[in-house]
């Protein structure tokens, strides 16, 4: 497949994630949309890693493997972020019994 198809696919997923962040009010769903964005990036990285593998395989051994390793690190960070993020959301829920992000603006002053 041409690499363009993968670029467009993952950009579409990425933008769907962004739209979700902009349009939803439930903090958990916003967070899930962010995870979707990260996954779009992962897909793009793997596709690029494959592309660099194909072009460089004759010159370098293990060409393109750094792209796949980056995906590991993204997963690591995402897991840590989920732990922290969900505990923040649970903490907020304990105090307000709501996960609506709009009340954040009403409490401004």
């Amino acid at each position: 497949m041409p690499i363009n198809y993968y670029i467009f696919l993952s950009l579409t997923l990425f933008v769907i994630g962004i739209i979700g962040v902009l349009t939803r009010r439930n903090a958990i769903i916003i967070f899930m949309c962010i995870e979707l964005m990260l996954n779009a990036v992962n897909l793009l990285l793997v596709a690029f890693s494959k592309m660099h593998y194909v072009t460089n395989v004759s010159k370098v051994t293990n060409a393109g493997s750094d792209g796949q390793l980056f995906v590991f690190f993204i997963m690591v960070v995402a897991a840590a972020e989920v732990a922290v993020g969900l505990s923040i959301i649970v903490m907020l829920f304990r105090n307000t019994h709501s996960v609506d992000v709009n009340f954040l603006n009403r409490l401004k002053h």
């Binding site: 497949m1 041409p2 690499i3 363009n4 198809y5 993968y6 950009l11 997923l13 933008v15 769907i16 739209i19 902009l22 349009t23 939803r24 009010r25 439930n26 958990i28 967070f31 899930m32 949309c33 995870e35 979707l36 996954n39 897909l43 793997v46 596709a47 494959k50 592309m51 194909v54 395989v57 293990n62 393109g64 493997s65 750094d66 796949q68 390793l69 690190f73 997963m75 690591v76 960070v77 995402a78 897991a79 972020e81 989920v82 732990a83 922290v84 969900l86 505990s87 923040i88 959301i89 649970v90 903490m91 105090n95 307000t96 709501s98 609506d100 709009n102 009340f103 009403r106 409490l107």
Partner: protein, 185 residues
């Protein structure tokens, strides 16, 4: 059109459809389930791209662990109903238009990238043996450093998650009511 092309298109369309459903679904539990479908299709793409190990890890870590955590929290908060207040129609439209414009700009910009191909079936860098060697030879420093990240996330989860013991239940309930009145839910 070969079998891999057909698979690519099926997976791509499923991925986009289920991603859209994540955003559209009103019930948070459905959103989680659609997100899991998206993760599975992305894993399918990984297999097509010969990243077998990542495909497995993606399912185990994302679909298995992270999404279960999400589901758990949603169930814990009793949010499995369509209780979410909606943003106004215009705000939603504005968000969608802004996102669409961003996509348009990105796609228009990247339309002319060189037409390099990604061969579907060749290559063995995605196998656990090769990845492991690179990870523990070249990437050992970032690997160790990411442990700091995990430690801080762990400390953080404890700091935030531990219930403060001192306040009795009645005061707490009154406080919750006060806040709810303050924000007019």
């Amino acid at each position: 059109m070969g079998i891999t092309q057909i698979l690519f298109w099926i997976l791509a369309i499923t991925a986009i459809f289920s991603a859209l459903m994540v955003v559209i679904s009103k019930n948070p539990v459905y959103s989680v389930l659609w997100l899991i479908v998206t993760f599975f299709t992305i894993s399918g793409h990984y297999i097509l791209l010969n990243a077998q190990f990542l495909a497995v890890v993606n399912i185990i870590v994302y679909a298995g662990a992270i999404m279960v955590l999400f589901l758990f929290v949603i169930m814990l908060m009793n949010l499995n109903k369509e209780t979410e207040p909606q943003k106004s129609k215009w705000l939603k439209l504005a968000g969608a238009v802004a996102g669409g414009c961003l996509l348009l700009v990105l796609v228009a910009g990247l339309r002319h990238t060189e037409k390099q191909m990604t061969e579907m079936v060749t290559g063995d860098i995605g196998l656990i043996q090769n990845l492991g060697k690179v990870l523990f030879k070249d990437y050992v420093v970032p690997f160790e450093i990411s442990s700091i990240l995990f430690l801080s996330a762990m400390v953080g989860a404890v700091v935030l998650g531990k219930k403060e013991p001192r306040i009795p239940v009645e005061t707490e309930m009154r406080k919750v009511e006060e806040t709810q009145q303050a924000i007019n839910i």
